[in-house]
């Protein structure tokens, strides 16, 4: 065990040392800590947004959905590449040492627990919404957070166990996959039918009835996600039995899985190898700045060839071909997730008003824009090498993203507007507001490339990016507030439109000032 404790303590020590030496990381950590502190303080200093808190069962239902999504997406990896707690260095160096496999497994579990806890901490940013809508106290928040961390941990463990027991048995894999799908389908059917029956055909009652249906024994029985939901509900509402039973089930399940892997299939090295290689290539890609695109498993080639485009416009037509191959319906996987989440949020946030929802949607838009095809183009040499004016190339590599921003705005805010009862003019205003922010975020990216193109620290650049975006967006928010306050009886959507009055012209100005970035930028290989 000495070697492993040495390794763990060294990893922690060296990470801290590297952190202290890196001003960019310190600034980013301070910003996150400040954000967390402000989030918690502002939540307690301000009165709740709603006079009467919504039913906490709704929140528990949301938690169940989140836990289920994380658990299934993690555990199902066990049917393909497996799960891993290890890095490539662990595989190459540690696995070949004469250290006991069981000890190495414990080492992996400790590492994974640390990672899960760190990711879970970021959930605190959602605390204001949770407190405002459901009046949840700090203990409740901590319970939900722990549930999230435990779900992540159990998902990895389950993936590893599934892979361990089924990787060499195709039939077992198929049976297990079918069992999991049937269980999920049964839960969905149960909740759907229960909710529909309880709502008695009243669409307005469906949400409440659905939340009530999730908070019942058949759902609580679902492994991990259901058990943790039951435990969370038990602690939050003071019901001892579900709390104790839920926690016990999770502990027994985890201990049982570890014991099963160790006893019956002690040679787990092979089982984690593939998953480690997969996660290693993803990490390497990230380090090289080439974040892997979320692509469908089977890509349909469809019509081949660019067909159009000469000079810089070849980039646009190339992007159209790539976009067609990467999308599932109208959008790629990342956009599709963002769209579904925003529309689902609008159901829950109907009473909070469009501005609250618009803020959440805009926050997600920052990531959706940064993952755009134009940003990926900067990672390969062609855009710098092609003999065309840098401004034309910049326009052409941005065009597909602008098209996507507009399409996304329409697809998101027509249903959201209908759900929130905005009316056609209100919907049009928020669509324009959304387009304004999309273009502003792209311009922010251009500006960062222009100003910090040669800075090699990714952390530092991201920090500057967020600060710069925040500063550029402030005048737009002020304009929005001013316009809506100057116009009598103006709706919230007028304020959203107001932001575009600033965002669109300032974005165009930034794009013009950065027109030569492809001459000044360094190939982005951070």
């Amino acid at each position: 065990m000495k070697a492993l404790t040495y390794l763990l303590s060294r990893i922690i020590k060296n990470s801290l040392r590297e952190f202290v030496k890196n001003p960019g990381k310190i600034v980013l950590a301070l910003i996150i800590l400040f954000g967390l502190a402000m989030t918690v303080l502002s939540t307690f200093s301000a009165p709740p947004l709603l006079e009467e808190a919504r039913d906490v069962k709704e929140l528990i239902a949301i938690a169940m959905l989140l836990y289920l999504f994380i658990f299934l997406s993690g555990a199902l990896r066990g049917l393909s590449s497996g799960g891993t707690f290890y890095s490539m260095a662990d595989v190459n160096l540690l696995f070949s040492t004469p250290v006991s496999q069981n000890k190495i497994l414990v080492y992996g579990l400790i590492k994974q627990a640390g990672v899960s806890l760190f990711v879970g901490l970021l959930l605190i940013f959602q605390y204001p919404n949770i407190r405002n809508f459901y009046g949840l106290g700090p203990v409740g928040m901590i319970v939900l957070l722990i549930g999230y961390c435990v779900t992540m941990f159990c998902a990895q463990l389950t993936a590893m166990a599934i892979y361990s027991f089924t990787s060499s048995n195709d039939k077992a894999r198929k049976v297990l996959r079918a069992v999991i799908y049937i269980m999920v389908a049964a839960e969905v059917l149960y909740v759907g039918i229960s909710a529909y029956t309880a709502a008695q055909g009243e669409p307005a009652q469906l949400l409440t009835a659905g939340a009530a249906a999730v908070n019942t024994l058949p759902v609580y029985l679902f492994p991990i996600a259901g058990w943790l939901t039951a435990a969370a509900y038990g602690v939050i509402s003071g019901a001892l039995v579900p709390a104790v039973l839920g926690c016990t089930a999770v502990v027994l399940f985890s201990v049982g899985l570890v014991a099963a892997v160790v006893r019956h299939h002690s040679d787990f090295y092979e089982d984690v190898l593939k998953a480690t290689e997969v996660s290693f290539s993803a990490i390497t890609a990230k380090k090289e700045g080439t974040v892997a695109e979320a692509l469908p498993k089977n890509i349909k080639l469809g019509k081949q060839g660019l067909g159009k485009g000469q000079g810089a416009s070849a980039f646009y037509y190339k992007h159209l071909v790539e976009e067609r191959r990467s999308r599932i319906f109208l959008f790629d996987m990342n956009s599709l997730i963002f769209i579904v989440v925003i529309i689902a949020l609008s159901v829950f946030m109907r009473k909070a008003g469009i501005i609250t929802l618009f803020i959440s949607a805009t926050y997600m838009q920052i990531f959706s824009v940064a993952l755009g095809r134009w940003a990926r183009e900067l990672l390969l040499p062609y855009v710098y090498l092609v003999p065309q004016s840098p401004f034309r190339k910049l326009l052409m590599i941005s065009l597909e993203n602008i098209r996507k921003i507009v399409l996304e705005a329409v697809v998101i805010f027509i249903p959201v507007g209908l759900i929130m009862g905005l009316g056609p003019v209100g919907i049009l205003f928020v669509i324009i507001g959304r387009i304004g922010y999309g273009i502003l975020f792209m311009a922010g990216n251009f500006m960062i490339e222009r100003l910090f193109g040669s800075v090699s620290s990714k952390v530092l650049v991201m920090t500057f990016y967020f600060i710069a975006l925040f500063l550029i967006a402030i005048p737009g928010i002020v304009v929005g507030v001013l316009i809506s306050s100057l116009l009598p009886n103006a709706s919230e959507s007028v304020a959203v439109l107001g932001t575009a009055v600033w965002n669109i012209p300032v974005s165009l100005l930034i794009a013009f000032l950065c027109r030569n970035i492809l001459n000044y930028a360094e190939m982005n290989n951070r």
Partner: protein
């Protein structure tokens, strides 16, 4: 030809290239040799116009960032540069369109055949092995018939057939009057055709050797090791 004049490239306090000057004439093959971290890839990226630097790089008399220079420059990066969602043939079409070429199809066919990619025309970039991706990168860089070709570790990951083919291409480029610069670790891979070799250490040129001197001079390999493994003062 192309000329590098007093190029210095810094990353913060670290100097990757320090006041480098050299030229490669038409029909000349220059090689950049040096240990890992010597600054070979950095100077190549500066010439290709991918990095900012102090000093000047002129390609056939044009500044390297000008459109005229870009039109006649071919760059093969160290890491294969392919688009995941384009097929091999679409890479060719994209380059031809971006460089506004006419009648490129036959040249593309010939290049793909030389690198045994003709039966992979419909494969997506993401489906190719690293070696095949490198072959596509090479084809993309040569399709527009550059007058200056710079190769950064071009043989890494290539199979023996592709290495042989690439060596033939170096000679053909030289015979066509193209200025060729190759950065490599593999001394034996360039011994048959190099004209001038620059040995880099710590971001600078430690020695330059021409391939037409008398036999009593040290060989390229001897010179390389005498510089890179010299005892530290």
């Amino acid at each position: 030809m192309f000329e590098v004049s007093h190029v210095t490239k810094r990353y913060g306090k670290f100097t990757a290239n320090n006041d480098i000057s050299f030229r490669v004439d038409d029909g000349q093959i220059a090689v950049l040799l040096g240990p890992n971290g010597a600054g070979k890839s950095t100077i190549i990226k500066c010439i290709a116009g991918l990095l900012r630097f102090e000093g000047a790089v002129n390609v056939c008399g044009y500044p390297n960032k000008s459109l005229e220079a870009k039109r006649i420059l071919g760059y093969i990066p160290e890491m294969p540069a392919v688009y995941d969602l384009l097929t091999v043939w679409e890479h060719m079409e994209f380059i031809a369109r971006a460089y506004e070429m006419d009648g490129w199809e036959q040249d593309a066919e010939r290049l793909l055949a030389r690198f045994e990619l003709d039966d992979k025309r419909q494969k997506l970039g993401k489906e190719l092995s690293k070696g095949m991706q490198q072959k596509v990168s090479i084809c993309c860089a040569l399709l527009h018939k550059p007058r200056v070709a710079i190769f950064d570790e071009p043989m890494v990951g290539l199979d023996p057939h592709a290495i042989k083919e690439l060596k033939d291409i170096f000679t053909e480029l030289k015979n066509d009057g193209v200025s060729v610069l190759i950065s490599t670790h593999m001394l034996d891979s360039v011994e048959d055709f190099w004209d001038v070799a620059h040995i880099m250490m710590n971001g600078s040129f430690a020695a330059t050797k021409y391939n037409h001197v008398s036999s009593d001079e040290a060989s390229l390999e001897e010179l390389f090791f005498s510089i890179t493994e010299a005892p530290k003062a």
